[in-house]
Amino acid sequence: MSKRDEKRQAYTSMLIPQTQTDLQKPGDKVCGNCKNFLESSWSSDGRGACNILKFGSNIHSQPPVYILEGKDGYPTKTLHDASACKYYEKMTFVDKDGYECSDPQYRRVMRQLQDKE
């Protein structure tokens, strides 16, 4: 496979829009409430990258593929199921009310992830 095809395959999942089923409520463990997830600063539709897993990883394959070497982070989304990921670590939300500007490390301004406590 050419490098261009490799990238296209990985990036396509980032660029496919959410369908109806994708908009349901998330489970307990999603990339979006993991410490290691960096939300893209560009929008709050949920795209981002993992700070630990690298490009080529896939936490949804059977078994999950973990690549820790390389430059680019594993592109993933806030509501992606992370229950199978061994690197998942639940984070404590800092930015709760969204009246300050984006901090990719802490911003989780999505209705589904609001801290109910």
Binding site: P17, L23, S41, W42, S44, A49, S102, D103
Partner: protein
């Protein structure tokens, strides 16, 4: 303020205390006071919309239902788009506010924000995910949104475009690290062909007749007994004309709906005879425009509002290019001075309400846009003053009326930009100054002769057209003419330039978004001298700019077929004449530019590296790289060295100023290598909006001493806050070394002035002297904040009492209480310049 205190304090007392907002409240008419307080504030604070403001589902539902019904219809895409547009206008809820004389709003109700789901499915996901703006009942409406989002997944403009962009470029752009915006024709902002539309020669009905003639001619051609390329291409033109007609006819119909509503209220509900008369006047105006050219000031404003409403129904419009004193001026003159059908006070009410109608406009925006444009929906920078096509002073009585009305209604948006030239009369300059002195933060001042020459230099606009220029958004001139006007400016040709210098240290890897974004330049520790370092900077600059420009170019080329704009085409002479969509590059001259956010950090950082690493050899490059990598933690003394002991821009210091000029020279050279699909250049334009706050957590540590999380400089060629130590003339002199015609498109300069120092006639003369220096040095732009620290600090503590305090953020103004705390602090930090 307690009503009693407001009642017992005179206007003069408030003005003496420089509490202009209370003075304005007392001075304005009861109508304007009501309408001003009626506005639902739609600008986001930080990233979230204010409580009570809700996303409007009506257009989304109407659009989706109509799209569903047309799925199997035998219509070309452009005609379907037009039919959807018409369906929305025919069926949306309309309203008339008490005491209003002007009507028309993009949403269905005053507190709602318009949402067009056909533009970008990533925007749609944000609507679903937004924690505060889904209207009640939330569960039911979330299900409605879910259905709409599901329908448009894969069908929106962005979804159609995405597969035909370069995937790698898109991922880099959508990471949010280097750019700001989407390459979509319906997701940016459009100027208009005002010379075609608003000179009184025609309106919708006349354009319909022109189109009918074109259709008849084309129909005859395609049935001649021959076949060729011209005929093959004519069918698309016929489809475009058909779509244009559908849009114009719908535009006429919705106006008549407003006329009908006004009559119904007058005849069935309203008891006050004076108000009945006003409602019947509204009805008459809406029967007249947009079908036919306006005859009065009220009709002229109404025409303009309808056009904007329709344009914002068809697309997301992030700006409001216009020149209202120039195009509405003749009607003001006729009504107030010639026919005397309006008193100046009545005209002022209309002008003030026109500002209010613009202030209330809102379309749901993605979070990055809300953060970058805190406190406002988009940059409505209205162009005032200037010259006409023959180079003569174009200021008129309406120019003055706009300045006076602005001081009464104190909206932050629209904001004015005044085209100064050497023949502007003193009475106009005084009005301009009064607005600034009243703390509006506008008008910004533009150097007209410089910018006319600039428009001719960069984009080859003929002088008669260049003289007519309006602000495409905050800063960039664009003539509203047949081939000159720009139908889409996509904000994603907006570069986060601080990344240029950051990537020199990381060889193009972005640690915040975990991706190789920039060029893989050599390890910075291998550079033997400043020249090698600077060469890497140039490479990163070219890489970042190219990524952004490539996607805009691609979108422009595809736009006429994939994302056409039949309504905008219908009001553009070049489209009505040719049958081509107005986005087609072959019929436009081109007016592209790259907005350069976070620009000055580069010069300050380059100067620091040159001095402290390469010349004085106080630190090695490895040490600096390590310190930046660690976000200066454990390196505070070194960081302060880079802050205090390296020269900073804005101090008339040739060391750093020459580096700035060198950076601009490289960009100017490159600007002529990268071309738009019209074949024209891509000059840069340093300015920021509130990107300096939005990017604070996205740009890493830099050699000018900043840490990740610190606010960036406030933009354009403004010195870093507090870093200009040598007074206002030194700032002007630094900025004056730039050639504002050939080294870039335009250059934003923020200055903060002391309200106390600029009181009275003496203050005015001080300001005029400052402006003479500004003009003589050939700067193209300056804008002022004139609010003192104590007022701003008080507003932070007690926002309820300071609702109408306005500050200049960057290319726009906002109410101080409507921006995030971090942005507020950043504005307070800006140096207050003492003049004289």
């Amino acid at each position: 303020m307690a009503q009693a205190a407001l009642k017992n304090t005179s206007i003069e007392e408030f003005e003496k205390k420089q509490e202009w907002w209370w003075a304005a409240e007392k001075r304005r008419s009861s109508r304007l006071d009501y309408l001003r307080k009626a506005i639902w504030k739609k600008g986001a604070i930080g990233g979230l919309y204010a409580p009570g403001v809700k996303t409007d589902l009506e257009q989304a539902v109407l659009t989706t239902n109509m799209a569903r019904s047309l799925e199997n219809a035998p219509d070309p895409y452009v005609v379907k788009s037009a039919k959807i547009f018409a369906h929305v206008l025919d069926n949306k809820t309309i309203f008339i506010t008490d005491h209003a004389q002007l009507v028309g709003y993009t949403g269905s109700l005053p507190h709602t924000m318009n949402w067009n789901p056909s533009i970008a499915s990533i925007l749609n996901a944000e609507v679903f995910n937004d924690p505060t703006s889904i209207p009640d009942p939330v569960d039911k409406n979330q299900a409605v949104i879910q259905d709409i989002v599901g329908y448009w997944a894969g069908k929106s403009d962005l979804d159609k475009m995405m597969p035909v962009f370069d995937m790698e470029d898109m991922m880099k752009m959508l990471s949010g690290s280097i750019g700001w915006g989407v390459p979509l024709a319906r997701g940016g902002y459009s100027n208009k062909d005002y010379e075609y539309l608003m000179t009184g020669k025609r309106a919708f009905q006349e354009i319909l007749e022109e189109i009918d003639k074109k259709i008849d001619e084309a129909d005859e051609l395609v049935h001649t007994p021959v076949a060729n390329k011209e005929i093959a291409l004519m069918y698309d033109k016929l489809n475009n004309w058909e779509a244009m007609k559908i849009c114009l006819e719908a535009g006429i119909r919705i106006a008549k709906r407003y006329a009908r509503l006004a009559r119904i209220i007058a005849e069935n509900f309203e008891e006050d005879p004076k108000r009945k008369e006003e409602l019947l006047k509204i009805a008459a105006a809406c029967e007249r425009v947009p079908a036919h050219p306006p005859r009065t000031l009220q009709e002229s404003f109404q025409y303009d509002i309808f056009i904007q409403m329709m344009s914002r129904t068809e697309a997301i419009e992030g700006a409001w290019p216009c020149r209202p004193d120039y195009y509405h001026g003749p009607y003001y003159d006729k009504d107030v001075n010639i026919d005397k059908t309006l008193t100046p006070e009545e005209a002022l009410d209309l002008v003030g309400e026109f500002l209010i109608r613009a202030a209330e406009v809102c379309q749901f925006k993605p979070k990055f846009a809300r953060e970058g444009l805190q406190g406002i929906d988009g940059t409505w920078v209205w162009t005032m003053g200037g010259v006409d096509a023959n180079g003569r002073d174009a200021c008129n009585d309406l120019t003055i009326a706009f300045m006076q009305a602005a001081r009464l209604v104190r909206v932050a948006n629209p904001t004015f930009a005044f085209r100064w030239h050497p023949h502007v009369q003193d009475k106009v300059m005084r009005e301009v100054f009064e607005c600034i002195r009243h703390g509006l933060g506008y008008p910004s001042i533009r150097h007209d002769p410089i910018l006319i020459a600039n428009a001719m230099h960069w984009h080859g606009h003929p002088i008669e057209e260049a003289r007519l220029w309006v602000h495409q958004a905050c800063m960039s001139p664009n003539p509203p003419t047949k081939h000159g006007y720009q139908p889409m400016r996509m904000a994603n040709a907006t570069a986060n330039c601080a990344k240029i210098i950051e990537y020199v240290f990381t060889s193009g890897f972005d640690k915040i978004v975990n991706m190789q974004v920039g060029a893989e330049t050599p390890d910075v520790t291998t550079f033997k001298d400043f020249e090698e370092f600077f060469a890497a900077w140039v490479t990163q600059m070219k890489t970042i700019f190219s990524i952004l420009v490539r996607s805009v170019n691609r979108a422009r080329v595809l736009a006429p077929t994939l994302t056409p704009r039949p309504f905008l085409s219908a009001i553009s002479e070049r489209s009505v004449e040719s049958g081509l969509d107005t986005l087609d590059p072959s019929i436009a001259r081109g007016n592209a530019w790259i907005t350069a956010f976070t620009w000055v950090e580069n010069a300050d950082s380059l100067a620091a590296v040159k001095k402290l690493v390469f010349e004085e050899k106080k630190y090695t490059m490895a040490e600096l790289k390590e310190a930046l990598d660690k976000n200066w933690e454990g390196y505070e003394e070194m960081r302060l060295d880079f802050v205090k002991n390296a020269p900073k821009w804005g101090n008339d210091d040739d060391y750093v100023d020459s580096i700035m000029l060198r950076c601009l020279d490289e960009c100017a050279k490159f600007s002529k290598e990268i071309k738009c699909p019209c074949g024209n250049n891509w000059p840069i334009l340093p300015e920021n909006v509130s990107g300096n706050i939005h990017y604070a957590n996205i740009v890493g540590a830099l050699p000018n001493g900043r840490r990740l999380g610190d606010a960036l400089y406030d933009g354009g060629i403004s010195p870093g806050p507090g870093l200009d130590k040598n007074g206002p003339t030194a700032v002007l002199k630094s900025c004056g070394k730039i050639d504002h015609i050939t080294q870039g498109r335009a250059f934003l300069l923020n200055q903060r002035l002391s309200p106390t120092q600029l009181a009275g006639e003496k203050g005015y003369q001080l300001w005029r002297a400052y402006m003479r220096t500004w003009a003589d040095l050939g700067l193209d732009h300056v804008q002022f904040n004139m609010v003192d620290d104590s007022t701003l600090r008080a507003a932070q503590k007690d926002p309820e009492k300071y609702q109408e305090v306005i500050v200049r953020v960057a290319g726009y103004s906002a109410h101080f209480v409507d921006i995030s705390r971090k942005t507020q602090d950043n504005i307070i930090q800006r140096t207050v310049q003492g003049l004289g």
